[in-house]
Point group: C2
Chain length 826, copies 2
């Protein structure tokens, strides 16, 4: 019965990743109620509460017929064994109250440390009593998952006794027990089975790896009961423990305290504003010889209440999970969504997220909360792993409590100042001197355009009496120079700077005119193991040798030495031609580009040499240069800023999305001093009269400060090479080559956290409106991967901290499904 | 020496407001370091730590010469008296170590409950020893602010013994002690004086009113030392207590624990990521007869470290506070700000906010952190009082931990769904059926315009082959019908819908053309005690009687009976005239208005009758109607939606700002089903292809759910009349009348949370760019009121929960300064 742990590992320096390294997805079954029992401290009576819930099943008739008691971490074993305690109490109670229909009980200890005395009666490791399957009997299953001898915190016991288990192994073992709950409960009604998981010590007591238990168990996010403290000081301890659970996103359905005559329940109820019930247990006899049977009887009504609360919260949750898709369809208006095309069952209920994973409700074969890797990085914003998420949550609580929101003009607060400093030292390093905050990428672009046009107007003498300009006279029309397939946001000003597309027709935006000169840029991609540059019409490609447009490695493409290549000349003459043919009363007032990768346009990689040549041509004409780094910034492409890839700097740049780690909207427009100076004058009317109420809001800036520091610090981000300061290669080169040679694949771009591929498609199957990729992505959902297509372009997007192992698993799954997909199409 | 408390009040049902009811502003002096000592539980050694910090001054030479020990709340008195303990220990130590230079010590108990035995030696209430001012001697000042006899939590003792004190009285008493610290410390160097405030019990133990102490002391936000727990279970208790402090915006500079041999410091340091030092004290002798002198000596180096940490954190803070304005000027680019016009000393350092108050750094006569009433409601977003702010902070931590951000299209999560439901049942009640989320007011407007134009195009047959429209052909030009002085946001689409203004010139936005027909609306205001309607040019006013444009009360203006008035006819003929004279190939595709109050345009109240007539005229022409409620929504005007004031509904409405309680950006565009239906079809290209990455982000939706419920619930918002469901009148009518008759005042508008007034001004002194109001507002800053002008229009904006008493104080201060202002102008 007893088996040694399969994994004994060395003590971690930092706590290990919670989730991403488990070998199988960690489902939380919903077939029957499962609860986790937390204590506000050690010795507040968690085990009595667990036993009491079970006891109320013995003492009442209309109760669950199966009770699972799981104790993942037990120290002080075997003299302390909470499983034993529960089992003994329940047997005793059952014999007294139900002599004719005895309890069927079993106990197992799954793993024990080498220090645990093996000469003890086996009874302590495995025990059965009663007859399995006796009708009407209560079935009690008690399991201790890991046991150590010393009565200290699990992390110390684990270190001292040599049974060290990683977080993911604890979770997998627990997951196995949950599967057992499902199996044994098959055919039973929902309320006939109840499972409780009892934690060790307080909510933030360390587990065996050193991770706090409230963090360790977080991927399951099991609904919770908190056993509080009825003693002097217990109000505070209970509230603080509750807040630690809240700060990890747990739902607490009830608080239970022992009555110590101090009426602690009063302030606790007032704190809870009656939203979480606070139950009071009669005083527990202190005499060790007391068998507590009377106490269990006298607390029966309280436990019965507690069990009712647990059951009804469970049923309410199940009901809600089932109803949510329909309710959402009825009242939500989703962005970028043709509601008529959302298939039945096509609405995903996201119950929570943990690091890179969604936890979604699935109700196919069995009802579960299942993890899905969020491969659209929640639409290009995500960065946090599970650890950073917890830290960000705490920071968000702090920033909200300290600042809420405070208005910005002529004011300063720490988060905004710190954030601005980090931005200028990081993504704006070497060129930017000013930070202008706003709410999202689109607003950051509108601000950037206003800045650029002013700079251009000042430089080119378009503004004469600038301090008195209230006449709304327009001396000239200003245009942008931009690229085909570009995308800069959905507000009108940002749209005007992009080329006509599906987004810009009369149907979508009757006011769009397209105020730009749109160049057709050369794109780069991998196909059949080779990196190629594809030159559109209009370039003088005749004289070019093959090796100037084919590359063996991606790095060659970013090489600065290409400035002297033949291709550079081709590019500059193309650009000059287009610019010189541009006539009339209009001026090019700004260049705006997404450096290296055009995101929404279909994950196209533009030849960085082309963009560099373009920037230089504009600079020589005093045309301000805007980099739209809303998608590319903050390690998205494996570098903090795409400037590090294209080796030239802008006058203005926009950032958003990943800037806050992806937790909250905030954007910034950075600018040079020369740009800033063009707004300085004696009149307020010369200032940049643009702003949003939540400019530089404290929560956003706080999140940005935390995330910017976290991503670039090798101590917190294992992907950062501490020498180069760059992110290691996340996508396996071999696998990428293999995919690029797949017959169903048109092109591949893998760079930084992005791996995109275009599926070969023709006619209606190609383009933004296409549903071509849908079957492929549906299959990948079954594999635990959540992707969102851009027409026939699909992509995997991870975070700057995601491990290459996880990325590999994703590539592998994708490749496997590609095979099926192309077979099915043939 | 002993005095009875001046205020004995009945027990509050809910905890009382923390801050707004204090009779004087609560400054935290910065002349010398002040710290608050928290415990992770009761009996973890807070008093020993306080005494130890003081002791290290006795035992070392280069230390503070004055030590203030403040114990605001003492129960179990006089047998427990932490002040006595500190005083006795320090005297003892001083006699042993510094016999030639004895300690000058004093002790006072400021207030004691009637139950405290008065026959006891007076020594317990007031004691002096040593000689004041002896050079080089340590001066020890111990004060117990409130004492109760029973050794229970202060809220119980207070109730049982009759010494009940409100939070504000505790704070005022503490503030008095701080003033004493400043006074006694005058002339001494910063580091020569140290003050510690020792709390009672754990961080979340209730104070005498029932408020948790971490909430009670929050307005001061005193830098903190946390005494943690070195016992079994102490890791958890310490971390949870720390998190409760973080969740209230405190800065903890150090954690101290007693060594119990469990190495709790390891996990604590790992949790803190070495950002907060964790100090370990030697085991405290358990023998009650031990005088601890040896223990104090053996812990001297630890306490000395701790004191160094406290001092250096203090100095760093002072330095930072002084540097921040300059740093901000160097790298920040503020919205709507002419940097050249920001005067020296004109940058405000906002250290935190608590409810409606900023806490700002002031360094004029003395350096303090001082409260300022945020009368611009942080630019129109704010709603929370101090209690809601704390609850929102907890919710923000929860939402970030549970969801971070998850992407929205075709997905659903609880906060978004709950928020959408509350919106449709609240501000959208009776007409809206769909919620489309975005990031701010400006984006919500851009979305609304796209919705309206589509609806108009479908209704008027402008779209023929809508599923295949990728040609970008424009069959007609669509315009909006809008009002002069309107403002709808700063992105181009929103700007195009507003009339030309200072914001729209070539200098600001070269792409602005003004795609609207802009009506000049009649405005309403109070002047000389009368509500007047002012009709612009173009209205047939000849036949109107005076009583149709003058009103004795504001309510009459909102009366629906006015539909049949003469004025209604005047309005409708004006509108018809303008519309019929509108010719050519252009169509009016939408009406967009700010209902009742035009905010940015200068806080103008538009006659609600005019807007109602206008809506009806548009509806009869099948022109979709948009209400821009970004400013007016969510109780800003005393009703949840301005629909309740103008008595007609839109087809589309935009909300933002106060929706989240003002803590985080989120916006929504609500629409009718008919509008939604015009986007339904077989192609994705017919869908509304607009969206932002953070659409319906979980934190924003969670904040909105909490705030929407909070504001309308009489249990949480004392301003809500539980019968009418409306907010009570916040601005004193008499005072408003008085102000409206003031010679310096052109007009007044008081409605809901808004009280605006236009100063009489001419020429350059009028208008948006004017600095005319600046001297008035600077004076009001001295009075603790932070206002921001709109040119020569100034306003007070409070939150939906702000008490009328506070509003009255504001009006009073404003009136007083108006007198000065007008004298100075004359």
């Amino acid at each position: 019965m007893f088996r040694f742990p399969s994994l004994i590992l060395s003590r971690p320096l930092h706590r290990r990743k919670l989730f991403s390294t488990t070998s199988q997805p960690l489902h939380l079954p919903l077939s029957h109620p499962i609860y986790i029992i937390w204590g506000s401290n050690t010795a507040v009576g968690k085990t009595l509460v667990s036993a009491g819930i079970a006891a109320s099943s013995v003492l009442s008739s209309s109760s669950p017929s199966q009770f699972h008691y799981l104790k993942p971490l037990q120290t002080g074993f075997p003299s302390d064994s909470d499983s034993h305690f529960v089992l003994n109490k329940l047997r005793h109670l059952s014999l007294l109250r139900n002599p004719r229909n005895p309890l069927f009980a079993s106990l197992r200890v799954l793993n024990a440390s080498p220090a645990v005395n093996r000469t003890l009666e086996t009874d302590l490791f495995s025990r059965f009593s009663g007859e399995e399957g006796a009708s009407g009997a209560l079935e009690l299953v008690c399991k201790t998952l890991y046991a150590w001898e010393e009565a200290v915190s699990p992390h110390l016991a684990a270190e001292r006794e040599g049974l060290i288990v990683t977080d993911s192994v604890v979770l997998e073992t627990l997951h196995g027990c949950f599967e057992d709950v499902v199996e044994r409960g098959e055919g039973k009604e929902r309320s006939q089975v109840l499972c409780v998981v009892e934690t060790a010590g307080g909510v933030a007591s360390p587990g065996p790896s050193g991770s706090l238990q409230c963090d360790l168990y977080r991927p399951f996010r099991i609904p919770a009961v908190l056993v509080g403290d009825g003693r002097l000081g217990g109000i505070s301890g209970t509230i603080s423990a509750y807040e630690s659970l809240i700060l990890r996103g747990y739902d607490v359905v009830a608080v239970v305290i022992e009555d110590h005559g101090l009426l602690n329940e009063g302030p606790l109820r007032s704190y809870m504003r009656n939203k979480v019930p606070v139950l009071v247990l009669p005083p527990i006899p202190k005499d060790p010889s007391n068998d507590l049977i009377e106490w269990f009887e006298s607390s029966q009504s309280t436990f019965s209440n507690l069990k009712e609360i647990m059951l009804s919260a469970y049923f309410e949750r199940i009901k809600k999970l089932h109803e949510m898709p329909r309710e959402a369809r009825d009242i939500i208006w989703w962005p970028f969504t043709q509601h008529k095309l959302v298939p039945d069952g096509g609405v995903t209920v996201i119950d929570s997220r943990c690091g890179e994973n969604f936890a979604v409700f699935k109700a196919q074969k069995a009802e579960v909360i299942a993890p899905l890797f969020d491969a659209c990085a929640s639409w290009w914003t995500q960065g946090p792993d599970a650890i950073l998420q917890t830290e960000l949550a705490r920071e968000m609580g702090y920033a909200a409590a300290r600042f809420g929101h405070v208005m910005f003009p002529e004011n300063v607060h720490e988060p905004a100042l710190n954030c601005a400093e980090l931005l200028l030292q990081g993504v704006g390093k070497g060129w930017a001197t000013r930070a202008f905050f706003s709410d999202n990428g689109s607003t950051a672009i509108e601000i950037a355009l206003k800045m650029a046009f002013r700079k251009f107007s000042v430089d080119h003498g378009l503004i004469v009496h600038c301090d008195q300009d209230t006449t709304n006279k327009r001396s000239t029309e200003l245009m942008v120079l931009a690229l085909q397939r570009s995308y800069h946001g959905d507000t009108l000003g940002a749209m005007e700077a992009q080329a006509p597309s599906s987004y810009t027709g009369f149907l979508q935006q009757p006011w769009y005119t397209g105020r730009g000169l749109f160049l057709d840029p050369p794109s780069v991609f991998m196909h059949n193991n080779t990196w190629n540059i594809s030159l559109p019409e209009g370039y003088q490609r005749k004289s070019l040798k093959v090796d100037s447009i084919n590359f063996a490695s991606r790095d060659e493409i970013f090489h600065k030495g290409r400035d002297n290549s033949e291709l550079a000349t081709v590019y500059s003459s193309y650009i000059r031609n287009v610019l010189s043919s541009f006539q009339g009363s209009k001026n090019i007032g700004a260049l705006i580009i997404e450096p290296v990768i055009q995101g929404s346009g279909g994950m196209h990689m533009v030849d960085p040499l082309f963009q560099r040549v373009l920037v230089n041509e504009c600079r020589s004409r005093k045309i301000p240069v805007i980099f739209d780094e809303v998608f590319t910034g903050f390690w998205r492409l494996g570098v903090e800023t795409a400037v590090d890839l294209i080796h030239c700097v802008p006058d203005i740049a926009c950032f958003g999305k990943l800037m806050t780690g992806g937790i909250i909207p905030l954007a910034v427009t950075l600018a040079t001093n020369a740009v800033f100076d063009s707004f300085i004058g004696d009149s307020k009317l010369k200032a940049l009269l643009h702003g949003h109420s939540y400019s530089a809001h404290a929560m956003g800036c706080t999140a940005a400060v935390k995330s910017i520091q976290w991503f670039k610090d090798p101590c917190s981000n294992p992907n950062i090479n501490s020498e180069t300061g760059l992110i290691r290669e996340l996508w396996d080169n071999k696998m990428i080559h293999q995919i690029s040679s797949h017959p169903a694949v048109q092109r591949v771009v893998a760079l930084g956290t992005l791996c995109a591929l275009e599926l070969k498609a023709e006619g209606n199957n190609a383009g933004y409106g296409s549903l071509y990729a849908r079957p492929l992505l549906q299959k990948l959902r079954e594999d635990g991967v959540y992707m969102r297509p851009l027409g026939n372009v699909v992509y995997l997007l991870c975070g700057p901290c995601t491990s290459p192992e996880v990325c590999n698993q994703l590539l592998f799954k994708l490749y496997k499904r590609l095979e099926e997909f192309s077979e099915c199409k043939n």
